[in-house]
Structures are given as structure tokens and as C-alpha cells.
């Protein structure tokens, strides 16, 4: 099952396309990171997936074919929107009770347990909490809904490092407990590596990279070698991004194992952060699964 499937999905605001020709299938049972520069269409994609926006073109379905935003979908998907919007004038306990009354599916014990662990004053108004605490309350509500699919839009952006750690720990606990699927958009590249199983990179409203993190890391290498020989790396190594010094070049390339680097080159594994940065610096490059292997990992290679 795919938790999100889009087919030529597009959304236009006025004359500008925020998202265009987006065809994507995110498999269930994974923690998927959605990354991309500002304005890449991340929030637009998530809002379309939640039925908060209607597509200008194409379609989007969630949880194995449910129309986005349908009652059947909303029962099983929980969403924490950007900046975790909650009712600021409500005390924590009333906010949680309000959410309980808006849902059919609800695990009050989980909500109570998490609120107790967070050690928040229950009578304090949401607006008086720190950004991190507000995010935790929003996450508490989302998790108390016992979703099969949890969608988080930039959940880490307003949080300090400690709060980020705690937030992600709570998400991963739910993943371990229920095996839920998670899709979160983020700028926080260093945290990605710790939690993400699947990576989607959006750039300029299009999907640039989609694949399992393990496969992506196994098929990319950071290479250091003579600047004059960058062109000779292919076809075994397809350059995603290169930086030239006077004599040496740093290259991030995609390759097909078990190809070995040419003799003059030193190869080492890449981090997910390096990989993402390389693709973000080269918006023309892409790594996408081929149509026949949609959602199943590696496809046809780097295209420039």
C-alpha cells in the first residue's frame, strides 16, 4: 500500500505553479522525509494530501486509494500543520477535549499519558506555551487519534535542538508502537538521517529525488580526485554535483554497485545530508524510481 499517491498533481496560485507534474508514490510503513528549498511546494503537497487544497491538475490519494480529505481518509490520517495551529485561547486540557470531541477514533489514555510525561500545566492557555510545547500538544492530539498515517509539516522548524530531539523521539516511539507511516517535511537535514527511511526531494514544484534512504546511500559516493578527470568518471559514476579546486575536485556521484572508483579517485560513503545538499545544488539532476519499479527503490539513474 502507498500512503500517498499522486498522479501529475499540480496546483497553481494565480499564475504561479506551486507544484506541477508531481507523480509520486510513498510506500506505507516508512518514515518519509520531504525536503526541498523554500517555495519548492512541500506545504502545497501536504495540504493537497490533506484535502485542504484542491488540485488544479491531476489527483492525490492517500492510504491505498482514499480521496484526499475524504471522511474515510481523515479518520486514519493525522496532520500537524506548519506552526502547529491550535486554539491559542484554550487551556491545554480543553484543547485536547475539543480534539477528542471532533474525532471518532481516540485513545484518551495515550493523550493522558503523553500530557503527564510532558509535564504541562493543563490549565495554561495554548498561547502561553513555548513553541516547542505547542508542537508537543499538537503532536499529542495527532497521536491520540491513533492514526495509520501521520503527516507533519515543518514540525521541527520552530524548535530548539532539545525540543527537536524530544519531538522526534515521540514520533519514533509511536512508529515503534504502532508501525505507523510518517511523512514529514523539514529543513533540518541533520535530523533526517536519524529517522528517515524514505526520502523525497522537491525542487521548483517537481519531484527531484524519491527513494529509500538505504538504497540512496548505497548508490551514492563522495569522490575526491584530479579536477581534470571529472569527465572520465562516467558512465559507471554519474556526477550529481562537483566542486572544483585548482587540482582536486570533490564530486558526489551516483553509481551502480559494484562499480569501483578509477584508480586516481578516493571514494567514501555519503551522509544523507551531503546527498540532499548535492541534489539541492543541482536542481536539474534527479534520481527517481522508474515507472516499472514505482515505490520499490532504485530506478534508471541520474538524469541531467
Amino acid at each position: 500500500m502507498n500512503v500517498i499517491e499522486t498522479t501529475s498533481l499540480g496546483r497553481r496560485f494565480g499564475r504561479a505553479w506551486a507544484l506541477r507534474h508531481c507523480t509520486l508514490a510513498v510506500p506505507a510503513g516508512q518514515v518519509t522525509a520531504l525536503v526541498g528549498p523554500n517555495g519548492a511546494g512541500k506545504s502545497t503537497l501536504l495540504n493537497l494530501a490533506m484535502g485542504l487544497l484542491s488540485p488544479t491538475a491531476g489527483e492525490v490519494r492517500v492510504l491505498g486509494g482514499q480521496p484526499a480529505g475524504s471522511a474515510a481518509a481523515l479518520d486514519r490520517v493525522a496532520f500537524v500543520a506548519q506552526d502547529a495551529p491550535l486554539y491559542r485561547h484554550l487551556p491545554v486540557e480543553d484543547m485536547v477535549r475539543l480534539a477528542r470531541n471532533l474525532n471518532y477514533r481516540w485513545d484518551q489514555q495515550r493523550a493522558d499519558r503523553r500530557l503527564a510525561a510532558l509535564d504541562l500545566p493543563r490549565k495554561r492557555k495554548i498561547g502561553k506555551l513555548s513553541g516547542g510545547q505547542q508542537a508537543q500538544v499538537a503532536l499529542t492530539i495527532a497521536l491520540a487519534r491513533r492514526p495509520e498515517f501521520l503527516v507533519l509539516d515543518e514540525p521541527l522548524a520552530p524548535l530548539d535542538p532539545l525540543a527537536r530531539h524530544e519531538f522526534l523521539a515521540a514520533v519514533m516511539e509511536a512508529v515503534a508502537e504502532d508501525g505507523i507511516s510518517v511523512l514529514f517535511s523539514s529543513h533540518a537535514l541533520t535530523e533526517l538521517e536519524r529517522v528517515a527511511d524514505y526520502l523525497v526531494v522537491l525542487a521548483g514544484g517537481r519531484v527531484q529525488v524519491a527513494g529509500e534512504v538505504g538504497d540512496l546511500l548505497a548508490t551514492h559516493r563522495a569522490l575526491t580526485g584530479p579536477a581534470t578527470e571529472v569527465d572520465q568518471l562516467g558512465p559507471a559514476f554519474e556526477v550529481v554535483h562537483s566542486q572544483h579546486g585548482r587540482a582536486q575536485a570533490q564530486v558526489l556521484a551516483r553509481f551502480r554497485p559494484p562499480a569501483a572508483a578509477p584508480g586516481d579517485w578516493q571514494a567514501r560513503p555519503v551522509t544523507l545530508e551531503e546527498l540532499v545538499l548535492a541534489y539541492l545544488r543541482e536542481p536539474g539532476a534527479s534520481a527517481l524510481p522508474g515507472p516499472e519499479a514505482l515505490g520499490a527503490g532504485l530506478g534508471t539513474g541520474v538524469t541531467r
Partner: protein, 361 residues
């Protein structure tokens, strides 16, 4: 919980307690209780004011009945202190206070309850929370609008009841051409006060969806509600002067052609009653004199006739002609006007729900 809800709960059933409607009612109350309490206090203040004034005039009326001063009115020395306030005292002032304060309730209901209802959600971005929960947003918004709308209608109806009850003795005893048809009293019945408040509320909700900012939506609501109340009375006035007027030719009618002149007719616009002869309870529209040959007597001539000149006129074979709406049509007009406003409120409310359903967050 219904079987469907059981399926939707997927094994994680929320704790038992309220019904589905009860849960949404709790949500509605919790989110809007400040506005509801504020509006409730305003309505309660108006109600208390009308209640104490009503008790005072009813006490006077009861004293009048006891002392034999009313039915028919008798200006004896004993009765003068009871009756004179109705002509020159505070009850007159009270009626004008009522017509000053009562239109504020629909405006307040629209501005403080209707306009923020959805504008605030859009503004704060909480639509992204509210519309991604398990309760379908169409159902959530429709339920909120209906529940709050019913509260507004109920409060308006109570205020209307209090107005009509409190002014009853004043209308019976005042000689100042006060009657139930006049602007300033006609609108403040249970039917029309409720309808006006419901319409203002529904308009405000729609304005909130379209404008998406709380303060501008409130401002639009205030302006539109005031304009709407003017238009709605004019609409009523057009019906009263245009639809199925009765016509009588009766010498006894022409006692007091005190209405304003318009062309060669008297614009009467008053109720026939103890001070103005005519069909009981009817609302008189226009009047004119005809001579023995059946021709209209020019207004100039008629206006210069001495007061209480029926006998003279009759001797001159002149007849007073009058057009009027029967008193029995009072409630027809009330429900015609109120029904139109409520229908409009329903349409505006449905439009707001439709926009929420269709438009992006």
C-alpha cells in the same frame, strides 16, 4: 455510537459520553462561549430594562382598569394621574428607547458571533487543524452555524415578546398615533426581531468566509445590517401600500385627515382605533374627499376644512374615501417579512457552508 462510527473508530473508540451532536455542541460552546456570554448579557440587559418598564406600564394599566379609567378612556380627576403619563410621560420616551436599542441586537449578533465564527479560523490558520480532524468539515461548520443561529433566533424572539408585551398598554392609551404598524414597533415582534437577528448572523458568517479578516468582516456586517434593516422596512412599506388594499367610502371616516399631504391625497399611515375611525385594527393608507358628483375634492380645499367637520362635509354631500389594510393582515405581513428574511438567512448560511466545503483552507 452508530455502527458506522464504530467502523470509523477502528478499534480506538473515544470514551463514551455525549452523542455526536452533543460533542459538536460542546465544541461550539467552548469555542464561542465568550461571544455567547457577552451577547447574552447584552440581551439580558435589554430584557431587564423592558421587563421593569413593562411592569410599570402594566401596573398603571391595572390601576386604570381597577378605577374604571380605561375601556373606555375617562379623563376624570382620579384618572388623570394614571392616564396622563401615557400621553406626555415616560412611556412615550420608553417607546423611542426601544426603537433605539432593539436594532442593536441583530448588529451585535452579527458582529460578535457571526463575523468571527470562520474569519478567525482562517486568520489564525486553525482551519488546518479543525478541517483535518475526523469530523467532516461541512458537518462541523453546518452544525456550528445552525446551533449558534438557533440561539440568536431564540434570543431575538424573547426580546420581541418583551417589546410587544411592554408596549401593549402604551399603544392602547397613547393618543400620539402610536400603533403596532409603525416603524420602530412593527420590526420588534418575536417574528421580526428573531428573523433580523438570524439574517444578520448568517450574513456575518458569510462575510467572515469571504473577507477572512475578523475586523473588516465585523465592519461589513455592521454596515450591511443597518442598510438591510432600512431596505427591509421599505420592502414591507411597499407591500403595505401596494398589495390588495381595501377601499371604503364612508362619511364617518373623514374625521381627522391629519396625515401629510402628497399630491391631492392624505397619506394617513395610521391604525384605525379609538382616535381614528375606521375598520377596527386596520392600517389606513390614503384618504381623499369626493363631492356629491363623485369627483375628488382638491387637497387644498380639503385641508382647509375645519377640524371635526364630518357633519359639514356630509351636509355638503362630500364623502371621505380611504384605502386600508385589514388588521387581520398584520400577522400576514409579519410572517411574510420574517419568512423572507429567514429564507435569505438560510441561503446565506448554506452559501457559507458550501464555500467552506469547496474552497481551500
Amino acid at each position: 455510537m452508530t455502527a458506522l462510527a464504530e467502523v470509523r473508530a477502528g478499534g480506538w473508540r473515544r470514551p463514551p459520553g455525549l452523542t455526536d451532536l452533543g460533542r459538536l455542541a460542546w465544541v461550539t460552546w467552548r469555542q464561542h462561549r465568550a461571544a455567547l456570554i457577552g451577547l447574552g448579557l447584552f440581551a439580558a440587559a435589554l430584557a431587564v430594562y423592558m421587563l421593569q418598564a413593562g411592569l410599570r406600564v402594566h401596573n398603571l394599566w391595572d390601576a386604570g382598569v381597577r378605577d374604571g379609567c380605561v375601556r373606555p378612556v375617562r379623563w376624570t380627576n382620579e384618572c388623570r394621574p394614571i392616564l396622563s403619563p401615557f400621553d406626555v410621560g415616560w412611556p412615550q420616551d420608553y417607546v423611542s428607547q426601544v426603537s433605539l436599542w432593539l436594532p442593536l441586537f441583530p448588529i451585535a449578533a452579527g458582529m460578535f458571533l457571526g463575523a468571527p465564527l470562520l474569519a478567525r479560523e482562517y486568520r489564525a490558520g486553525t482551519t488546518r487543524f479543525a478541517w483535518t480532524q475526523g469530523t467532516d468539515r461541512t458537518r462541523l461548520v453546518a452544525t456550528k452555524i445552525v446551533l449558534l443561529g438557533l440561539a440568536v433566533l431564540a434570543a431575538g424572539a424573547v426580546l420581541g415578546v418583551l417589546v410587544q408585551w411592554s408596549v401593549q398598554p402604551i399603544l392602547a392609551l397613547s393618543s400620539e398615533h402610536l400603533d403596532r404598524w409603525i416603524p420602530g414597533l412593527f420590526e420588534y415582534t418575536p417574528v421580526l426581531e428573531a428573523a433580523a437577528a438570524g439574517l444578520a448572523f448568517a450574513f456575518a458568517v458569510l462575510a467572515g468566509v469571504l473577507v477572512r479578516h475578523v475586523v473588516p468582516a465585523m465592519a461589513v456586517t455592521a454596515v450591511a445590517t443597518i442598510a438591510g434593516s432600512i431596505v427591509s422596512y421599505q420592502q414591507l412599506y411597499a407591500w403595505m401600500t401596494g398589495l390588495g388594499l381595501h377601499h371604503s367610502a364612508d362619511p364617518a371616516l373623514g374625521v381627522d385627515p391629519a396625515g401629510a399631504m402628497s399630491g391631492n391625497v392624505f397619506v394617513l399611515h395610521t391604525t384605525a382605533g379609538s382616535w381614528v375611525p375606521g375598520p377596527a385594527g386596520a392600517w389606513l393608507d390614503q384618504g381623499w374627499y369626493t363631492d356629491a358628483a363623485g369627483h375628488r375634492v382638491s387637497a387644498k380645499v380639503a385641508q382647509n376644512l375645519p377640524f371635526h367637520s364630518v357633519r359639514q362635509l356630509t351636509q355638503m354631500h362630500d364623502t371621505f374615501q380611504v384605502t386600508w389594510q385589514p388588521g387581520s393582515r398584520y400577522w400576514l405581513f409579519q410572517f411574510g417579512q420574517g419568512g423572507t428574511e429567514l429564507l435569505l438567512a438560510l441561503i446565506l448560511g448554506a452559501l457559507a457552508v458550501w464555500l467552506v466545503r469547496r474552497r481551500m483552507a
